[in-house]
């Protein structure tokens, strides 16, 4: 039997912190509190196990191991105290999947209208996977995709189905 196009695994222990602020004013403080530079537009910046993602002109998403959420949250809150900003633990809001393998791009290409090949190595793309919102970045030998936890089952089924054996997009 043919092999699946990619391995789909749920990321366990994923923590996320949403940061909403005027980045032109608070960016340096956020970067200092986290020890990660503020990413470029639609980019991500990486420091160890932490990834800071640009979500929109006034929003960042910090993706990090679940057990580091509390100290990071405290550091952010301290550095932004008294400023017009929002820092929130949204770890339970979203679910993450790893799509790994040489054909991982094909799995996602079936589900999203976005041009993944145009995404830079350190980029993050917000788009949709079939009917639900998602965000995609490159990780290891494939991609990581996050979506809302309320549609986690749908997203998992989508990915597993798109990765079904014998459904490669390569010309035969």
């Amino acid at each position: 039997m043919a092999e699946a196009l990619a391995r789909i695994t749920e990321i366990s222990g994923l923590g996320m912190i949403q940061i909403r602020a005027v980045l032109s004013e608070t960016g340096p403080d956020i970067a200092q509190a986290l020890g990660i530079p503020i990413p470029e537009r639609t980019g991500t910046s990486l420091a160890g196990a932490r990834r800071l993602c640009w979500m929109s002109p006034d929003e960042l998403l910090l993706v990090l191991p679940r057990d580091q959420v509390a100290p990071a949250l405290a550091a952010l809150a301290a550095s932004l105290a008294g400023r017009h900003a929002l820092v929130l633990d949204v770890s339970d809001m979203r679910v993450g999947f790893l799509v790994q393998g040489p054909s991982a791009g094909q799995v996602l290409a079936k589900l999203t209208p976005a041009n993944l090949s145009a995404m830079p190595q350190d980029g993050m793309l917000r788009s949709r996977a079939a009917q639900v919102a998602c965000a995609i970045w490159r990780q290891d030998e494939g991609f990581a995709i996050i979506g809302f936890r309320s549609v986690a089952d749908y997203l998992r089924a989508l990915l597993v189905n798109a990765a079904s054996a014998g459904t490669s997009l390569d010309p035969r």
Partner: protein, 121 residues
Amino acid sequence: MLTLTCPCCGITADETELHPGGEAHLKRVGPGSSAEAFETYLFARSNPKGVHFERWRHAYGCGKWFLAARCTATLEVFGTYLAQNAAPPPEILAAIRARRPDWTPTAIAPRDPEPAERPNE
């Protein structure tokens, strides 16, 4: 298929990733306006065959509203620009005139002295 480039995040998004917001550059009348004027503001919309200014939201991306100038007949996109513009910026008008020399702007609200405060989008 319509693809628009979001001026807020620079992503070229497919129509299915966007949410349409209708005609752009509407100017609210009142308070104290006549009922007829308010009805016009609420319901009367231009429906041109040709150049049209529209509001769009990058719903499956950065979530921001932006404005687009496009042709309703050919789906040609002349440009997109930030929603903070009260009227089409000069470069958009120039792009339209380059492609539609006989086009004349009609019924575009005059530019406000101060852009209106926008609440959280």
